[in-house]
Structures are given as structure tokens and as C-alpha cells.
């Protein structure tokens, strides 16, 4: 989230889209309830289904799964055409006035530089015009047709209310009503918050859906404001920690990135990521990338990492391509993977296209499952009748199960969606032989290290030299790990302005990332977490919820990254002179007397930079401002464009009916054999979408009796029209099929799933909760991901679980 959970109580308007906050986050949802009860806030829900969030909303609008960019593009058009934008905000804090390169073009759904064979773009034309001084050229009058404002206007003028209604299936009056309510928050004293989740990420154009939402918020001036923001509701406990620590295959901790194969040279690697300011006077904080990187390498390789060997840069793997979930299973399917350590993960159930995943696992030599539960993946080789129809005799994979603790059986920190690191304490002993994950990983590491020591190997250096200074090497403690990621001084850290002044003594924990150095004198396992465990102690364990300003800024409750800032970009909550746009919800303000920014929040800014210096709020961007024009940062293009899901009920993209290449995401990666696994509307006419229920968490809680009692059996939801057509009644068993397989489930016939009028035809949706499988206390069910397609978002490779094609019949 850019803002945080408690801040939601400060809002005037909640838009829940691409997510189902009440369903998936019933506890966090109380902040929406608070906003409604105490600020008379209104709640809008836009969703293919009338969900539990819609049940308590003020307004609900239906939408066809996968068409959110068209909807939001229409909102952008509405705001620009009706001039319902925060003028001063967009002029000063965004790239509205920046001039775009003349070579950049958009033609019938494709941007300049498309390579159809590679399904990717040469992005060299996707950039700003840069002057001789190295700074971006701007037109403050906003008249130049190449300025971002004019280009954006021209791009989204095509998304008229009629076009939106036809593509999305949303009735025109409903769409306009939503636009009207949203437009009201352009006023400086009104804020809207957007709460989204997997309904936006689990699409082949998911990242661009989120981008479009962010663009709407920027037009309204809602980013950086209390009660505003783009708020991603993270799901699995500590998924936020997972991405923060860089556990995605292409990342390093703190959202640094692994080098690519072509980046064999250390200096070039750093230069490419330490962005220099593109506008005068901007902070461009990633300039300090070298400090974060070196400190991280010191944490991993300690004394072995020196200036002479570029801090062990050569020991890092260099990526030839992404190694995300889909790529790994593709490799496994090709027989290229010997073994797989599967930790806290159930891919047989969670990954798309179960038949491919099952076949891939069967090609492994060994599979290690580290999990508190007996998951479907751990039993992938076992025949469970119709629910897992495999022949164990044909599967040679050796499966090891290492039982681990669950969250209540260990100490440690979790990071919430609010970016708050909260320490939690062990409440119970684990059963039987279960061990904590650190112990299991330590056990594997120490034995591997021994084998390498004794027997050598192709390249043992990174393993032999990994720092492992734990007091009990077989059981690294959470405290030791937390101190490591928060960081410490290896040598005295001095003030750059006054070298005689020692800020942190050697051996002491650091106070924050501002103390990180690129000369090897600091060590820090995750720069954004720096400060979570300082010499003051474990700040994550603090439980003081005093709220002195009354707007939910509880700075002494645990520790937020970065630097305990609770609302990101909070400089943007003030006008260029440093006065809050809304004094009743003041986050920070410029105090001339003390020469500092301050207030209810920690400034997400250089604290002593006066307003007249013109430093802008988006301090991580080299431009200093937020981007409507994403330059080369996105795979599909600088402006989001509507593309159909890979499997769509429509034959073409209504925005570009004549261009087959612009039908679905032109930059989405599809493995060669998977093209044949996509279905067409003649055989599979209905839109399938998968989702979650309140009563369960993924495939985990079906093992818990209480959860099984309140939601015992697999079902699918269909609308009354489709039910009538197929002769299906409440409680009948139905078979739902996609090109990749079928499931059988109970039918729930409901008014909440509507037939939509799309491009002159009726489109039906089949909704499928995912929580079933063949292990646990619920009635045995099919793995819903039998049906889903093996294709993901072009930027993140998150699979397209939310929009695909199915057929349905009564069994």
C-alpha cells in the first residue's frame, strides 16, 4: 500500500475494484466501516460478481472480467474531458508537462518498436525529450501536443462511455455514476482510496490495470494524501515480506534487481540502477543504489566481499531470462530440472493448468516439501480417484516431507500490507518432529557446505564463504536474522559533512538506510527494513497505539518501512509552498522556523529541503514527479491500453478489431506448446474466473475443522440466465470444462452473477472459488486450477487466473 490500513478511516470514498476487501480482509475492512460510520464515506464496488464487499457498498457496478483498463481508461477520459482534476497537483507533481520523444508512436494497438516474433518491444523510442543539460524538456503551458498531458488526453479520448459500456458490459448509467462519484474527490479537501488485490494482479495485463488505477488517483491528487493512495491488499501472511526481501526470482532484497546475463561489468550494473536526477533539484534516491547493494553483499559474504573483488559481484547469478513460477515449471516439463525444494507452497493447487504442473513434478528426480500440512503437492504422485487421477507406478520422483512449524509456533516479524513490520511471539509448541524453517534451511545448508568442503564442486566459493555467524549454527534465531536485515556498522560510520563526527560506532546497529555506505563499512540484509532493529532495540515489537493527531498515524506501533514513514509520497499532501491541501487531515507541513518538514507522519522526503528549492515528492523517480507516461518501465507500453484476456469470449479486441496482434497482450510470454492449450469461444463460450471466499485461505484452511464446517464443499456460481439455459438448479452437480481439463462441483445459482451485454451479445460468467482439493477435512474437491491457462502478466508473470474460457453442463 502507499498508505496504510488505519488511514483508510480518513477517506471520503472507497473504490474496491480488482479485489474484494470485505471477503479477503474482514479485519482490515473495519477501517472502511469506520470511514463510513464516522466520515460518512461512500463505498463503490466494481466487480464481475456482487461480492460480500458489494453487500455493504453504497454503489455496485458490474464489469466483465479482464476489462478493467477499458473501464479506468474511461474514467481518465471522463476526468480529463470534464476537467475534474487537481490542477496544481498534476502540473507540479506529475510529468504532465514533460515532452515525449517525437519517434514515440501508437498505431492500432501497438506502440513503436514491436517485434512480433519475440513478442516484445524495442523501447528506445519510449522516452522523454532530453535537453543538452541532461534534463527532461517540459512545456509548463501544457499546449505542446507532445507533452504528456496532451498525449494522454488523445490516448484516452477513445474510451468514451459508450465504448466502455460495450467492452465492459457495465450499463452506461452505472459507469457514469461511478465516474461522477470519483470525480468529486478531485477537490483538495476530498480523498479517495483504491483498495485492490488479485482481481487486478492475476491478469495478463494486470500490471497495466494497476497503473491505470494509479493514473486516476494522480489526476485527482489522491496520492500522498491521508485517505488516498493505491492500496494493494496483500494476501498470504508475509507475502509483503516475501517481495520486500526480494524472494521473487529476479530481485535482490529491497527491490534491487539481479543483474542480467549481459551485465558482467559491476560498474555498469550499478550505473544503470543509480538513477541520476532527470530534472533540476530532484533527490532521485536510487542514486544511492551502490550503498544498498554493497551493504547487502557485506551481509551475505562478510569479509570475503571487498572493494577489490567488487563486493563478490561475480558470485551473483546473472539472469538470462526470468525464473518465475511459470518458467520453472516449463523447464521442469522439459525435463531440465532435477530437484525442487517446495517451501510453504502448494503449486499443484496454486499454479495454473494442473495437468502441466502434475506432469512436470513427475519428471523430477526429487521433490522436497517443507510445510506444516500434507499438501496436494506432497501427494501429487498418489492416486486420489477422480480428484487426482495418476498412476504412482509411472512416477519416479522421490518425495521428502520435512514438516515445518506454522506461524503461531515461531517468533519473528511479519510485514503487513501497510508496510508495517510487526514482531510476533511463539504461542505453541510445534507437533512431533516439526522444525522451524530456519532450522530446516540451516540443516540443508550446513550439510551442503560440508559436502562442498570435502568434495569440491564446479563453483563452491559463494557457498563456502556465506556468512553464518549464528550462535547456534543449526538454529539461526529470528533475532539474529532481524538484526542482520536491519543492518549494522562494521566500521565507525561518520557524518559525510563532518568526518570527525561518528554517527554509529563499529558493531552497533544502524538507525536507518541513510547511514548505509558503499565502502564496505556497513552491512544490511534489506535496506528498506533498515532501522527496524536499532540500538534502541526491536522497534517492530512496539505496541503503543497512541494516535495524537487523530488520523491513525500511530508511529510508535511497530515499525514501517521505509524509515517508519506511514504514508508514502506524503510531501504531495502539501501544495508547492509547503502548506497542507487539507489542514483537517494534515500529514506533514513545512515549518520555516525550524527549517524542517514535520507533522503526524515522518516526511517521505529530504526533511530539510525547503519548498522554494522545488524538490518534488516522488523521490525514488529520477524525474522527482509521478509518471503518467511510464517511459520504458512497462512491458506493454507507456500508456495502458485495453487488450482482451488471452482467452476471451470475443473474437477480437473491440479497440483494434482489425489487428490480430493487438487482440491480447502483445508482450505477454507464452511458451511454444502452450498456444495449443488455449480454448476458443465456439467450444468454451463462457468467461471463467477464480476467486477466494472468506471462510477459507487458499488450500490451507480446509485442513481446519471449523473452517470446513462453515464452507464444506466445492461449488461454482452461475447467474440465473445461464442456469435456465442449461437446466441447472441450486444444488445440482455440474461439470465445468476448459481446454485444459474439467472440474465437477455443486452449482450455486445466484442473482449476484449477471449476464452482461458486451459488444451486442450476452456474455455469461462462471465463478469458481479455489479452496478445494483432495487433502483435508472438507468434502473432496477438484483442483480449480485444472482449468486455468498457463500465461501470465507481461511484467510479473502472475498467471491469468481471473479471466479465461469455460463451458458448463449439468452432470
Amino acid at each position: 500500500m502507499t498508505n496504510h490500513w488505519v488511514d483508510i478511516k480518513n477517506t471520503d470514498l472507497v473504490l474496491i475494484m480488482g479485489g474484494n476487501a470485505a471477503e479477503a480482509h474482514p479485519c482490515g475492512f473495519k477501517w472502511v466501516t469506520e470511514a463510513k460510520a464516522h466520515r460518512k464515506a461512500r463505498l463503490i464496488v466494481v466487480d464481475p460478481r456482487f461480492t460480500r464487499s458489494a453487500a455493504v457498498s453504497d454503489y455496485y457496478a458490474p464489469i466483465r472480467a479482464g476489462t478493467d483498463i477499458a473501464f479506468l481508461g474511461g474514467v481518465i477520459n471522463y476526468l480529463l474531458s470534464n476537467d475534474k482534476i487537481h490542477h496544481e497537483y498534476v502540473k507540479t507533481y506529475t510529468d504532465f508537462s514533460f515532452l515525449v520523444k517525437d519517434e514515440f508512436a501508437f498505431n492500432d494497438g501497438l506502440y513503436s518498436g514491436y517485434n512480433p516474433e519475440k513478442r516484445s518491444y524495442d523501447k528506445s523510442t519510449w522516452g522523454y525529450q532530453v535537453g543538452a543539460d541532461g534534463y527532461v524538456v517540459t512545456d509548463p503551458t501544457l499546449q505542446n501536443p507532445r507533452c504528456v498531458y496532451q498525449m494522454m488526453k488523445a490516448h484516452y479520448v477513445r474510451y468514451t462511455p459508450d465504448v466502455v459500456s460495450s467492452i465492459c458490459g457495465t450499463p452506461k448509467e452505472a459507469f457514469l455514476k461511478v465516474c461522477e462519484m470519483i470525480a468529486g474527490t478531485a477537490a483538495p479537501n476530498k480523498a479517495m482510496t483504491i483498495m485492490y488485490a488479485l482481481g487486478w494482479t492475476q491478469h495478463s495485463q494486470g500490471s497495466q490495470m494497476i497503473r491505470t488505477g494509479a493514473m486516476v488517483q494522480l489526476l485527482l491528487g489522491n496520492i500522498g494524501a491521508a485517505g488516498g493512495g493505491m492500496n494493494a491488499l496483500r494476501g498470504h501472511s508475509n507475502i509483503q515480506g516475501l517481495t520486500d526481501l526480494g524472494l521473487l526470482s529476479n530481485l535482490l532484497p529491497g527491490y534491487m534487481s539481479l543483474p542480467g546475463d549481459v551485465e558482467q561489468d559491476y560498474a555498469t550494473y550499478i550505473e544503470k540502477r543509480a538513477f541520476k536526477p532527470l530534472r533540476p533539484g530532484q533527490l532521485s534516491y536510487w542514486q544511492n543504489y551502490g550503498k544498498f547493494f554493497v551493504s547487502n553483499m557485506k551481509a551475505w559474504w562478510g569479509d570475503a566481499a571487498t572493494a577489490e573483488n567488487n563486493w563478490c559481484y561475480d558470485w551473483l547469478p546473472k539472469l538470462d531470462k526470468g525464473y518465475d513460477l511459470l518458467q520453472v515449471f516449463e523447464n521442469m516439463n522439459q525435463g531440465k530440472v532435477n530437484g525442487y525444494i517446495c517451501q510453504g507452497f502448494n503449486p499443484l493447487a496454486s499454479a495454473p493448468c494442473k495437468v502441466k504442473v502434475s506432469g512436470s513434478l513427475a519428471k523430477l528426480k526429487f521433490l522436497v516439501i517443507i510445510d506444516p500440512l500434507a499438501t496436494e503437492t506432497s501427494e501429487f504422485w498418489q492416486n486420489h480417484g477422480e480428484y487426482n487421477d495418476v498412476d504412482p507406478a509411472k512416477i519416479q520422483t522421490e518425495v521428502f516431507r520435512l514438516p515445518s512449524t506454522c506461524f503461531a509456533e515461531e517468533d519473528g516479524s511479519l510485514v503487513s500490507s501497510s508496510r508495517v513490520l510487526q514482531w510476533h511471539w511463539k504461542a505453541a509448541e510445534p507437533p512431533g518432529d516439526a522444525k522451524g524453517d530456519q532450522e530446516i534451511m540451516a540443516g540443508i545448508f550446513l550439510r551442503l557446505r560440508d559436502l562442498y568442503k570435502k568434495g569440491g564442486g564446479a563453483f563452491p566459493d559463494p557457498i563456502l564463504n556465506l556468512t553464518w555467524k549464528h550462535r547456534q549454527p543449526e538454529a539461526p534465531s529470528p533475532e539474529e536474522l532481524a538484526k542482520e536485515y536491519s543492518g549494522k556498522a562494521l566500521k565507525d560510520v561518520t557524518d559525510p559533512k563532518d568526518p570527525a563526527k561518528v554517527l554509529v560506532k563499529a558493531g552497533e546497529q544502524l538507525n536507518g538506510f541513510a547511514e548505509l555506505r558503499d565502502d564496505g563499512s556497513t552491512s544490511c540484509g534489506c535496506w528498506i527494513f533498515s532501522g527496524a532493529w536499532s540500538e534502541k532495540g526491536n522497534l517492530m515489537a512496539r505496541r503503543d497505539n497512541s494516535d495524537p493527531y487523530g488520523i491513525g498515524q500511530t508511529l510508535n506501533w511497530a515499525f514501517a518501512w521505509p524509515a517508519n514513514r506511514r504514508v508514502l509520497y506524503n510531501r504531495a499532501s502539501c501544495d508547492p509552498s509547503g502548506k497542507p491541501y487539507d489542514p483537517t487531515r494534515k500529514l506533514i507541513a513545512w515549518d520555516a522556523a525550524s527549517g524542517k518538514w514535520g507533522g503526524a507522519d515522518i516526511p517521505d522526503f529530504k526533511p530539510d529541503s525547503p519548498p522554494e528549492d522545488g524538490m518534488n515528492p516522488f523521490i525514488m523517480n529520477p524525474e522527482g514527479v509521478a509518471r503518467f507516461f511510464a517511459v520504458d518501465k512497462m512491458a506493454e507500453g507507456p500508456f495502458p491500453e485495453h487488450y482482451e484476456p488471452m482467452e476471451s469470449p470475443l473474437a477480437n479486441n473491440p479497440m483494434h478489431p482489425k489487428n490480430e496482434m493487438a487482440r491480447a497482450n502483445p508482450a505477454a510470454r507464452v511458451f511454444k506448446e502452450d498456444w495449443a492449450s488455449f480454448g476458443k469461444p465456439d467450444q468454451f463460450p463462457y468467461v471463467g474466473t477464480t476467486y477466494r471466499l472468506t471462510e477459507h485461505f487458499h488450500f490451507w484452511t480446509k485442513h481446519a475443522r471449523l473452517n470446513a464446517i462453515i464452507q464444506p464443499e466445492q461449488f461454482v456460481e452461475i447467474g440465473e440466465d445461464l442456469a435456465k439455459e442449461k437446466g441447472i438448479k441450486d444444488g445440482d452437480h455440474v461439470r465445468v470444462r476448459s481446454k485444459r481439463g474439467f472440474i465437477v462441483a455443486v452449482a450455486v445459482v445466484t442473482k449476484r452473477v449477471r449476464t452482461l451485454d458486451v459488444e451486442g451479445r450476452k456474455v455469461h460468467t462462471v465463478g469458481m472459488p479455489i479452496h478445494w482439493g483432495f487433502m483435508g477435512l472438507t468434502k473432496n474437491g477438484y483442483i480449480t486450477n485444472t482449468l486455468t491457462p498457463f500465461v501470465g502478466d507481461a511484467n510479473t508473470q502472475t498467471p491469468e487466473f481471473k479471466a479465461f474460457l469455460v463451458n458448463i453442463e449439468k452432470v
Binding site: A22, F29, T33, R52, V56, L706, I710, Q711, P712, K779
Partner: protein, 291 residues
């Protein structure tokens, strides 16, 4: 629970007076369920099972979100989901937490023939004391809301206790504590009515012109109340009775039939005595004794 420590107002099938040594004015409590805030998450169902050490069956899905489908001896509260189109073209999903309403004039207590099996405390809570229950099911007949359920395990009736054990030590009921959105609140009935007024004002501002508090007078008012968006149509909420009252049969059976039966009994005794005195015992004739 020892009767001495509780402030009891009434007991089933008992004519000896209940203890009332304590000062009048035990504060009547109430649980207020604001249906406009309820997201149907069923946390209250789980909390109730956990607090009371109950575990219902893992059932099946018959095409609805309601699980379990009905109240049982193990499920003392269930969510009931209703999809209604109150206004043309505007769908609403009304989710009501069903369970004992803790009536001020409890039909179950009135109907129950077993002394002390059903008890009403001065704070309004109606509790079953199962050790005295004979499993006759009259409480179900007497209940205008069809709440109590007889257990197949021990043939006794069970229902929501309004967590009398928690309230007795100053805690809120388990469902109140767990409700993530604060749709369920608890306190004195006066405070809950006041809170409901604020909620109703808010709902009216959002276009629910008939929002109202459900505190039905036909049972003397209840200690579990609802804020309904459509206060004029309680039946939309899974057949919540519009104007509940105790079946006249119960009133009759426990009411006028008792003195009538007593009279009848007395008359029968008197008639028998009178007959004996006047006509004497039945004598068998000599001739009839021959076989």
C-alpha cells in the same frame, strides 16, 4: 451454574418465587446486530463454536452460502443469506445472523413444562439449564423465531446463551468480541437503542428511507435487536417474522387451561365423592357371579 449467584427473574414451570434479594435495576443488556455492516464472514459462528466447545458436522453444499444450513445443537448461530431486489434493478445481499432473540416475554419459558429448565435473568438473558431439560420440544413450539434445537446426542434443547457465562464476569459475548467490522455490539439495552438511532440516521442519509430498529413489541421487546435497512420488510431477511408473538396455543395451554384443568380436577374429585356418598360403591349382583 449455582442459582444463588445469579439474578433470576423467571423460571420455567415454577410457581415458587425466584430469588430477588438484590436491588431492583439490574441493567438489561442487549446485543445489537447491524445488518448493514455485516459482511457475512461467519467469524461469529466460529467464535461461538470455540467458546462453547461445540463442533458441528462438515456438511454439504446444497447451492447456498449458508453453512451449516440451519441451527443445530452444535450451531447456536448461523448466517442466513438472502438475495433480494428491493428496488427495481438494485440487487441487495442481506445477510442476517440468526439465533435466539432473548425475548423479554419468552415463549420458550412459558411453554416449557420442566421446572427450571429455562431461566430468565434480570438482565434479560434467557438461558437453558439443560440439566433440567426433558427434551419435549415445547420450547420450539413456543418460540416465535424457531430457534431451540433438540440434540440427538442427549435429547436436550440448546440455543444461544448470549454468553451468560462471559457476561456474568463482565465480558462481552464471544461473537461480539470477534466481529471484525463491529456489526455486532453489546451493552445496556438503552445504550444499544441509542447507538441504533445513530446507525438509522446514517442509513437514511444513504437512501434507506425505511431503516429501523427491530425490537418487536409482540414479545415484549428483545435483548437481541437488529438494525434493518428495510425495517418495514423484516421478512426479506430470511423470513424474520414481521410481528412475532407467542402462539396463542401456548398462552392458552399455559394460561387459562391451567385453572380450568384445576377446576375440572376439583370437580371430578367432588363428583366422585358425591357419587360415593349418594350412590355408594359399585356392587356386583349375586346372579352375575356364576361363571
Amino acid at each position: 451454574m449455582a442459582l444463588q449467584s445469579l439474578d433470576i427473574k423467571a423460571r420455567s414451570a415454577t410457581t415458587t418465587p425466584s430469588p430477588h434479594v438484590r436491588i431492583e435495576g439490574a441493567i438489561p443488556v442487549a446485543k445489537l446486530i447491524d445488518i448493514s455492516k455485516c459482511i457475512g464472514c461467519k467469524a461469529c459462528q466460529v467464535a461461538c463454536m470455540e467458546w462453547n466447545d461445540l463442533r458441528d458436522e462438515v456438511g454439504t453444499n446444497v447451492g447456498v452460502y449458508d453453512n451449516p444450513r440451519d441451527l443445530t445443537d452444535q450451531s447456536w448461530t448461523v448466517m442466513r443469506f438472502s438475495e433480494v431486489e428491493v428496488e427495481q434493478g438494485r440487487l441487495e445481499w442481506l445477510i442476517r445472523k440468526d439465533g435466539c432473540m432473548h425475548c423479554a416475554d419468552p415463549g420458550c419459558l412459558k411453554a416449557c413444562p420442566s421446572p427450571g429448565a429455562i431461566v430468565q435473568y434480570s438482565n434479560g438473558i434467557v438461558d437453558f439449564h439443560e440439566e433440567n431439560c426433558i427434551g419435549c420440544g415445547y420450547c420450539i413450539t413456543g418460540c416465535p423465531f424457531n430457534i431451540p434445537r433438540i440434540s440427538k446426542k442427549d435429547n436436550k434443547a440448546y440455543k444461544c446463551t448470549l454468553c451468560s457465562d462471559r457476561v456474568g464476569v463482565g465480558l462481552e459475548p464471544a461473537c461480539v468480541k470477534t466481529c471484525p467490522t463491529g456489526a455486532i455490539v453489546f451493552g445496556s439495552k438503552v445504550d444499544m437503542i441509542h447507538h441504533a438511532e445513530g446507525r438509522i440516521t446514517d442509513l437514511k442519509e444513504r437512501g434507506y428511507s425505511n431503516a429501523a430498529l427491530y425490537d418487536p413489541k409482540g414479545v415484549g421487546g428483545t435483548h437481541v435487536m437488529y438494525v434493518l435497512q428495510h425495517g418495514d420488510k423484516p421478512e426479506l431477511y430470511a423470513n424474520l417474522p414481521k410481528d412475532p408473538n407467542i402462539s396463542p396455543l401456548v398462552s392458552l395451554w399455559k394460561g387459562v387451561t391451567k385453572p380450568l384443568m384445576n377446576l375440572g380436577l376439583g370437580l371430578a374429585v367432588f363428583a366422585g365423592f358425591f357419587h360415593y356418598v349418594t350412590a355408594g360403591p359399585k356392587e356386583v349382583e349375586e346372579e352375575e357371579k356364576t361363571d
